[in-house]
Symmetry: C2
Subunit: 407 residues, 2 copies
């Protein structure tokens, strides 16, 4: 008998038919003698509908009241899923975050889980019930409802798996696993049987919208293997786990592209100590995330500082950039929205010299000019012209033979 | 400074515009220096939508899970109303039944309030906040959410007013007060400034769908005056209170009609002791409410037992009626759906002899035959042919001069 935590995303429970399908999947594992703890998101677009109502009332909602509103979404789905399981003849009970006592800090809208009380869950499991828990939500020390923000339901599932010392943690959505690149762009993309936490973190933050980095971090910390699969079929998914058993096997695991980057150049800044610090502190203070950064000393002791940010941050950021540029005595600010960032990720590249060089060569051989480079332990990213983005992904995927990958 | 409990029904908060309107009304009382505790129902038809989803999953929902589902409706409206108040520049906070700790018994779907903890409400009031509380819901000793069933939000408001020792309890809906009869039937119907608990109870159970009898009972027990008015205008409403100051003033306060009655006659039952008891016990055991009852000893020691029940109960009831009729040796069962019950209600009739006689005379003078009569302390009801129902209400309203009523 194993204790299994399963999480089902909003698409998986978006209507009655899908809720019944999820109930069948849960029951089939329960019938094998397993104890089942289920985490569910809000149904389909129900959260969007609530947000729409909220936006009609205020553009600046009180975070506490927003959480009061949004926590109803998961409460609806846990009740309906529990009823669906009961209707099929099995015992089930739904619990909200407050009933479980998933204790969080006070940061409404992006709370962090501090502690989970297992007692109610264990009591219900001991009575043979399938326990259905609202994802994305908790309760703070004032007894007020909190939400965990982006990736919240995944985080709930991983935290529960850790707290309950579950044997398995399975994340079901409409995505059937982790691929070497976006299969919609490259038909040769292969599904990975296994990926390390570290690779998954780099892939997730680069845009593979499968699992929020936060839940991967948590899984890594508690060393909980996550199984990622689709709730719509029974095809094998991808296991996310520790790096040990695979680090020698492949240098590159995936290729990703991010087309929502803007390149900003603050040109000809007088070369003085602390210039870059001032610029990026100002942006950070205003919650603008900068991604790649390069600085070139030009002739005449003038610096060009070039960096990228997300297109969503451009409107907000440009004001601060121009202010600080003037303050620093820069001669010009250039904005280039016609860029994309293509990246290769792989735990093996740490021990495989030449991986980055190979990437640059593949791009060069295809006449794709590299504007910026950034490297991390298990990732190399290149900023290129946007029109080359799709081609770059395709040739890198081919060049690193990711269509033939198999653990 | 007064402590005011206001309750707003689902129609009053059915969309964003109406929520904003309610917020304005609350703020205008708050600005006068009053402490405001607000009870809200779920928005418009949102509960119906949840029930519809539930019915697609099961025809026999677990009562606990149904409460888990349905309590989300009020949680949405308290959050939105609090945001609307805040957006207008005033402090507000929403609380669910579980956060207040409105403690109920274990009867899911029709729980009864056992105790209310005032501490959280008092804390928030002391901080100058308008406190917005979810109606219709509470929490049981297992920390599970319960709902109060029909009339639940009114009951929440009255219970809170009692627990907090509020100075006023105001019930707002789309109805602007209590009338001497249905204004859609009799244009001369007058709105009452005042009505006693007892009269209100008789009127409510007779079909004036303004205030659930349960909340009136509770208000009567704790001697809390209820002010009934519309949230859509500022016209004066009706005060519901103790009988003292008005018992001598008018004999009849209102006329009501119930067209959803069926007359059942179990004919020629051998006259033995215990016959009626057996019949009505069987119906009661099967949850079928019987309203008017008469029994006539006929020739040959045979009894006709005639009674009325609600049309909704006929299908369920007829099986049991026929079973017991056979068992008792009755010769026939007759069903007459072509009936209506018209009633006059008034606390003053206790001290005004001849009120019932006057009713019979008015009906008789208009050639309306009375099939059954039942009398209570402050109510007289007559069963008549359905086609005469509207006329009967009109002539009784006129005959008792209810168009001229004024406290």
């Amino acid at each position: 008998m194993a204790l299994i935590v399963q999480k089902y995303g909003g698409t998986s429970v978006s209507n009655v038919e899908r809720i019944n399908n999820v109930a069948d999947r849960i029951i089939s594992e329960y019938k094998k003698g397993n104890q089942m703890v289920i985490v569910v998101s809000a149904m389909g677009d129900s959260t969007d509908k609530l947000i729409d109502l909220m936006n009609q009332i205020t553009s600046n909602p009180d975070p506490r009241e927003a959480d009061m509103l949004l926590t109803t979404g998961e409460q609806v789905s846990i009740a309906l899923l529990s009823m669906a399981i009961q209707e099929k003849g099995y015992k089930a009970i739904s619990l909200t975050g407050s009933q479980v006592r998933i204790e969080t800090n006070d940061h409404h809208n992006h709370a962090e889980i501090m502690k989970i009380d297992n007692s109610r869950i264990n009591k219900e499991l001991a009575e043979g019930k399938i326990v259905v828990i609202a994802g994305f939500q908790g309760i703070n020390s004032h007894n007020d409802f909190t939400t965990l923000g982006r990736g919240g339901s995944d985080t709930t599932a991983v935290a529960l798996a850790a707290s309950l010392k579950a044997d398995r943690c399975e994340i079901y959505s409409d995505v059937d696993g982790i691929y070497t690149t976006d299969p919609r762009m490259v038909t040769e993309a292969s599904k990975l049987d296994f990926i390390s936490y570290e690779e998954m973190l780099e892939l997730a933050s680069l845009g593979a919208k499968v699992l929020h980095p936060r839940s991967v971090e948590l899984a890594k910390f508690y060393n909980i293997k996550l199984y990622i699969a689709s709730s719509f079929n029974n095809q094998p998914g991808t296991m996310v786990g520790g790096m040990d058993n695979m680090e020698k096997k492949r240098s590159v695991t995936g290729v990703t592209v991010d087309k929502e980057q803007v390149k900003v150049t603050v040109a000809k800044v007088p070369d003085q100590p602390g210039v870059a610090g001032k610029l990026f502190t100002k942006l950070a203070d205003n919650n603008i995330n900068v991604d790649m950064i390069i600085q070139n000393l030009q002739h005449n002791s003038k610096n060009d500082i070039t960096f990228t940010l997300h297109t969503n941050d451009l409107n907000k950021g440009i004001k601060y950039i121009e202010e600080i540029a003037e303050e620093l005595g820069a001669e010009n600010v250039y904005i280039d929205e016609d860029v994309a960032k293509v990246s290769i990720v792989g735990a093996g590249m740490i021990t495989t010299p030449g991986t980055a060089a190979k990437m640059f060569n593949i791009l060069g051989e295809n006449n794709i000019n590299i504007q910026m480079i950034s490297t991390a332990d298990i990732k190399v990213s290149c900023l290129i012209e946007k029109k080359h983005a799709d081609l770059a992904v395709k040739i890198l995927h081919e060049g690193f033979e990711l269509d033939k990958i198999k653990l």
